[in-house]
């Protein structure tokens, strides 16, 4: 089984010479000989879906960018502001193979003829910053970056922006606002960033894992890429698992590997004495899945059918000795704290939800609290808020109320957390 994303991890961190010896920057060399539109076509054909969580076809996003002469300056931003609770795939990619990420970013920039690329890296990802910084410096030395890259006539400057550290910065438009030095607030859409993004210019924001796939698609072709997958969605995926399993970790596996396979074969099943209760499949903003979903293939389309989502593909497992209300309390407090404060339902609704959950955990929950929580899962629904933060925050709550309702009720009737 091919593992293009993690194949260099064993010898990490690589020097550029080592990276090149293992096929590094071949993708860029090949790409620079093609017209950008051709690159876009290849990536559309490869059916690479955005790995940030939304699963939008990457090549298609690029194709929305105007390629007119007067569309410059244009920007590329690589979203490495990984703050989704439970997710750590971008971090391992940047720490494991920073050169691959940088090469992917350069090719992606070329595909939309961006003039400047920003690596927007989460505050606290110090090792990632260090390694990406080195990879960029080395790329400049070899003229993989800078003016007239390898005589192709294409020029690109690349900078690292270390975010000040807000979950909101991971949202595309907030990231752009943060880059502009403004508060990391989302923006009204339309217009979309590909038309009016950074400093009002066409801007593509791609996830780290997305761009890391690009060099391989260019070198090996879209057909090869699609064949890596078990389903129609191309490529491999870095799946992760945390929680009380025997071997928490991450694995690069074919897209469409089932949840059960990851849990049993790769994570080694539940820790001794614990039973599987459910999991958040792709970070805190996806809905809980339970035993009945263990055979679901983990790609965007199949996961969407469950009512949950692939998200980042990094799973958090809930066991029978952990209080689901406590877990929810933890999650919703995070979301309440992460609200940017722009729109009312998110700013005021989430803290109320978090307060209720905390109260339940303390044993001071009241009859009617569950109904109030349920009301919020409707009120903070999609389209009701300015961005997706609050609707996403309602996903784990809505599903928990469905699967673990009894546990919520016990907190109220017993005036305590039954797990304590």
């Amino acid at each position: 089984m091919e593992k293009p994303l993690t194949r260099n991890f064993a010898v990490a961190p690589l020097s550029l010479a080592e990276y090149e010896k293992r096929g590094g920057y071949e993708g860029l060399r090949k790409a620079l000989k093609m017209p950008p539109k051709e690159l876009q076509r290849l990536v559309i054909e490869a059916n690479l879906l955005g790995r940030g969580g939304a699963g939008f076809p990457a090549g298609k996003k690029w194709s929305f960018v105007s390629m007119d002469k007067d569309s410059h300056p244009k920007f590329m931003a690589v979203n490495a502001d990984e703050m989704e609770p439970g997710s750590f795939k971008d971090r391992v990619l940047m720490e494991g193979d920073a050169n691959l990420v940088v090469e992917g970013a350069i090719i992606s920039s070329y595909a939309v003829e961006a003039d400047v690329a920003y690596m927007f890296i989460r505050w606290g990802y110090n090792l990632s910053v260090e390694r990406v910084e080195k990879a960029i410096a080395q790329a400049y030395e070899k003229n993989y970056l800078g003016k007239n890259i390898m005589g192709s006539g294409y020029s690109l400057e690349m900078y690292i922006h270390t975010s000040a550290g807000r979950y909101m910065c991971g949202e595309e438009a907030s990231l752009i606002n943060a880059l502009e030095g403004k508060r990391a607030l989302p923006r009204a859409k339309p217009p979309y960033s590909v038309a009016c993004g950074l400093w009002g210019r066409p801007t593509v924001v791609n996830n780290v894992e997305t761009v890391a796939n690009i060099p391989h698609i260019i070198v090996n072709g879209p057909e090869w890429f699609r064949k890596l997958s078990l389903t129609a969605e191309g490529g491999t995926k870095i799946y992760g698992m945390s929680g009380k399993v025997k071997r928490p970790g991450f694995w690069e596996l074919p897209m469409g590997t089932t949840i059960g396979e990851v849990l049993q074969e790769h994570a080694g099943g539940m820790s001794d004495g614990l039973k599987f209760c459910g999991l958040l499949p792709g970070g805190a903003s996806t809905s809980f899945l339970t035993e009945e979903h263990l055979n679901v293939k983990m790609d965007f389309a199949s996961m969407a059918k469950t009512g949950s989502g692939l998200g980042t593909g990094t799973m958090t497992v809930l066991d029978d000795k952990t209080c689901p209300v406590g877990m929810l309390n933890n999650l919703e407090s995070f979301f309440a704290r992460s609200s940017c404060g722009w729109c009312t339902p998110c700013r005021e609704g989430l803290p109320w939800v978090a307060n209720i959950l905390e109260s339940m955990e303390k044993g001071t929950g009241k009859p009617g609290d569950i109904e109030l929580l349920e009301e919020h899962t409707f009120l903070l629904g999609s389209g009701h808020t300015f961005c997706a933060l609050a609707p996403c925050a309602m996903n784990p709550l809505r599903s928990a109320l469905k699967y673990f309702r009894n546990d919520f009720e016990r907190h109220i009737t017993e005036h305590r957390c039954p797990w304590k």
Binding site: R166, A195, G200, C340, G341, C343, G349, G383
Partner: protein, 859 residues
């Protein structure tokens, strides 16, 4: 025009707006917070949620924000949809989680948009049992009170303050449900538009501190339409009174002039009316004596006033005779005023309103620091520079109402704004500047005109800059030239006119905007034909003016505040301020506007024209008998002064009635009426008569919307706050229903031949050690009346002399200078913007200098 469907009924609406604005214009009540007609949509508060439906059979639909939904043809919404109703109610419930519910002690109570919206959405029961978050409040200066706990985070304050008004020291801090709106530390708000926060804030976070010092509820205020007296723009105001003192000024919407906003001088300058320096001593008993003196005088002159009404000025002119009537302004100022009135009367150029300035896409300012001399122009200019870059947004299909994307698309690109002044201005950050002596500023204007039309007189040395300006003007759709009297230099006005003429000649439709020092400068200049320089007479009657430097055997002053003229006067008659009198002012645009008594004057205080009439009675002058009320004297002016014919249409006559009823100055909820004077007489007195207007000093009368000049308050059922203005407009943000108040007296004479001014002044040449002293005006301190308001005097500029640092070498820290025969010691300020050979001195109340430039040696 697109057709939209609301509750399945079709409505034709104007394109290019959002559904919220369209529905409000149609008369639907959709609640909102973050949207404001002047600030547009950002979709933050989520209160204007409605159901968007696909077709008449769609029962599910989806919740959308009406403020963020364009009025595309066929858009179908339901406001009454139960889910939308439930959602809006929830928004209020969320906003009230942390609100302190302190309405009884809140200054906003009774005119609070949050109260209105709470009732409108039906949120009545608190289900949240958790603690409220609390904030610390800040000291924000003498004008604005801060109470952050009441905040509902609509972001209007910072959007107005920073995005709209260009302020920098108010911002949003922190995150999630602790967002905080304030300064980075306690301190005076730096923007001269800070007072608008009081009206922009939908609840009691920002309230009027001067009002708080003598607080009364909105419904207990007696209010009448008025005109700001603190500069020449004629912003429309609504002053409010209780128990004989003026309590506050609020904005009175006028789509052509001030729109929704006022500057801080206009809003907070009113306290001079309550000043301890008010002249209140009786005067009636002295009328006989005054008449005797006049009868026995060898000569009598009248000194008119640029801050007195047309009516009072006219009365005085009638008393003394046209040949003895002098404008109470300096010779230099009168000369510039005369050039301006000449242009207004005879030229083919249209004068610009504030609104016209905000709609322009290329502006040249010659010789005016508008931020200080006419602040509301600054606010308009800050909008005007967005007009040209709007093309960027248009290309991306972003409509202007969609404020977030609009500003993101245009970023900090600014349209052409050129400012030629003697010193730096606040607007420099958004403009291209030229710093020069007044004569050189005029020369630049001539240069620009010549670049636009080669037939206009040429000057040397400006090819580059003038070429750029000319080019921007040639590419503009709505070019505006702004100039004014600040430099007391008529060449500058003439140069500005030449620029406009040249633009007209090449087929553009330019406008010219004049900046004038006083609320009735134009009116005075139309009545008087000479200034006060070097006149002397036995007896002088000085009307509402502290600008009579000359000696006379007998001085009779009619004024409301003591000043150096009233101190040397032999007789002082107590005049009514704008708040206690009626009158007509003519603003910078040549628009005649009426102001009305807010409350009857106390004691023997009366309108100045009534004092003049009393003197004329005593002199047995029969014509004064015709002046029975205000309308009589207004009609007489219209008859006698042809250019002022239109003033009778500025407002309905006193005999006007709505369905037989007068227009009440008091709201229906006015309380304490029967008890107000019970300390004097337990029987309730009859309301004071008002022979001068169709308004009554009462709560009884026509409850609906009167003609615009007579609107005494903005209130509509369920809309108790200033947001109720929308209910008085046929289209939100548009003119008041039936047209805005005021009449333009001068329209461009299209047939007039363009005759270029030709008197190009010679270039300014600095001389050794000799400086040209030019005036600087300050928003706080330069205007005589507002300077008497405690808050404004606290922030007033202090005396100084500013020069270029290159010339400061060898000069001591203070400089002695003689201004109007008085010696001053002024601290030296170094300002790199000031040209060599120029020294800038502020014109301040209390300093005896009218701002006329002069040359002097400085050591």
């Amino acid at each position: 025009m697109p057709v939209i469907f609301v509750e399945n009924q079709p409505y034709e609406v104007k394109a290019g707006q959002n559904m919220l604005a369209a529905c409000l214009s149609l008369g639907f009540d959709i609640p909102y917070f973050c949207w404001h007609p002047a600030l547009n949509s950002v979709g933050a508060c989520r209160l204007c949620a409605v159901k968007l439906l696909k077709d008449p059979n769609d029962t599910k639909g989806k919740i959308v924000m009406s403020c963020m939904t364009p009025v595309n043809d066929g858009v179908r919404i339901s406001i009454k949809d139960p889910e939308a109703v439930k959602f809006r109610k929830s928004v209020l419930e969320w906003l009230m989680l942390n609100h302190p519910h302190d309405c009884p002690v809140c200054d906003e109570g009774g005119e609070c948009h949050l109260q209105d919206m709470t009732l409108m959405t039906g949120h009545v029961y608190r289900r949240n049992r958790f603690k409220k978050r609390t904030h610390k409040n800040q000291y924000l200066g003498p004008f604005v009170k801060h109470e952050m706990n009441r905040c509902i985070q609509c972001y209007r304050c910072v959007r107005f303050y920073k995005d709209y008004a260009g302020g920098r020291d108010l911002s949003v801090f922190c995150w999630h449900d602790s967002v905080y709106f304030g300064r980075n530390k306690d301190g005076v708000l730096q923007s001269q538009f800070s007072g608008n926060l009081v009206e922009i804030c939908p609840t009691g976070v920002f309230t009027d501190k001067t009002f708080a010092n003598h607080y009364t509820r909105k419904w207990d205020l007696q209010t009448a339409p008025s005109i700001c007296v603190h500069c020449g723009l004629g912003c429309n105001t609504l002053p409010g009174e209780r128990y004989g003192t003026l309590r506050r000024i609020q904005n009175r919407f006028n789509s052509q002039i001030n729109g929704y906003f006022l500057c801080d001088r206009g809003r907070f300058g009113y306290e001079f009316v309550n000043s301890k320096r008010r002249i209140t001593q009786p005067g009636k008993s002295k009328i006989g004596e005054i008449a005797n003196i006049i009868k026995n005088s060898k000569g009598i002159i009248g000194i008119g006033s640029p801050r007195a009404s047309l009516e009072s000025n006219h009365a005085l002119r009638e008393l003394v005779g046209k040949e003895n009537f002098y404008a109470g302004v300096s010779k230099d100022e009168f000369e510039t005023l005369s050039v301006i009135t000449g242009i207004l009367k005879n030229s083919p150029i249209r004068s610009a309103s504030i609104q016209d300035v905000s709609k322009s896409d290329a502006v040249l300012i010659l010789g005016e620091d508008v931020s200080n001399s006419a602040p509301m122009i600054e606010l308009a200019l800050r909008q005007s520079v967005l007009n040209k870059p709007a093309a960027i947004a248009e290309k991306l299909n972003i409509e202007r109402w969609n404020d977030g994307p609009f500003r993101e698309a245009i970023q900090d690109v600014k349209g052409p704004l050129y400012i030629a002044t003697c010193n730096n201005t606040i607007l420099d950050e958004i403009s291209k500047t030229y710093r020069a002596a007044p004569d050189d500023i005029a020369r630049l204007g001539y240069g620009v005109a010549h670049q636009i039309d080669a037939d206009s007189p040429a000057v040397n040395g400006f090819d580059d800059l003038a070429g750029k300006i000319a080019n921007d003007f040639k590419n503009a759709k709505n070019p505006v030239v702004i100039t004014g009297t600040s430099c007391k230099n008529k060449s500058i006005i003439e140069a500005a006119a030449n620029v406009a003429y040249a633009l007209l000649k090449i087929g553009k439709k330019p406008k010219i905007c004049f900046v004038l020092p006083n609320c009735n400068s134009i009116g005075l200049a139309l009545l008087a034909d000479k200034s006060i320089e070097n006149v002397s007479a036995d007896t002088a009657i000085v009307l509402e003016n502290d600008n009579f430097p000359n000696k006379a055997k007998n001085i009779i002053a009619i004024d409301y505040l003591t000043n150096s003229t009233t101190e040397k006067a032999h007789f002082v008659l107590p005049a009514a301020t704008f708040a206690e009198s009626d009158g007509t002012f003519i603003n910078n645009e040549g628009r005649a506007q009426r102001f009305f008594k807010v409350y009857p004057p106390a004691g023997e205080i009366q309108d100045s024209w009534r004092w003049v009439r009393d003197i004329m009675f005593a002199l047995d002058r029969p014509e004064a008998r015709e002046w029975k009320n205000f309308d009589d004297i207004t009609a007489e002016i219209a008859n006698k002064v042809p250019v002022l014919q239109g003033i009778v249409d500025a407002a309905p006559k006193a005999s006007f009635a709505m369905y037989g009823q007068r227009i009440p100055r008091q709201l229906q909820r006015y309380s304490g009426r029967t008890a107000m004077s019970s300390n004097i007489d337990v029987r309730e007195g009859k309301p004071a008569d008002d022979p001068d207007s169709p308004l009554s000093f009462s709560m009884e009368g026509y409850p609906g919307q009167p003609p615009s000049p007579l609107i005494t308050h903005f209130w509509s059922p369920a809309w108790n706050s200033v947001q109720s203005v929308s209910k008085f407009q046929s289209e939100v943000g548009g003119p008041l229903s039936g047209g805005d108040a005021g009449v333009r007296l001068f329209e461009p004479k299209e047939s007039a031949r363009i005759e270029y001014f030709k008197n190009i002044p010679p270039a300014f040449k600095p001389r050794d050690e000799e400086f040209l002293i030019v005036p600087a005006y300050h928003v706080f301190g330069s205007e005589e009346l507002s300077a008497q308001a405690p808050g404004i005097s606290e922030l007033a500029a202090k005396p100084y002399i500013a020069i270029n640092p290159q010339q400061a070498k060898g000069l001591s820290e203070t400089i002695e200078i003689t201004l109007s025969n008085t010696l001053y010691q002024l601290p030296v300020i170094q300002s790199p913007g000031i040209p060599i050979g120029i020294a800038v001195v502020p014109v301040l109340t209390g300093m005896r200098w009218d701002g006329s430039p002069f040359r002097t040696m400085l050591k």
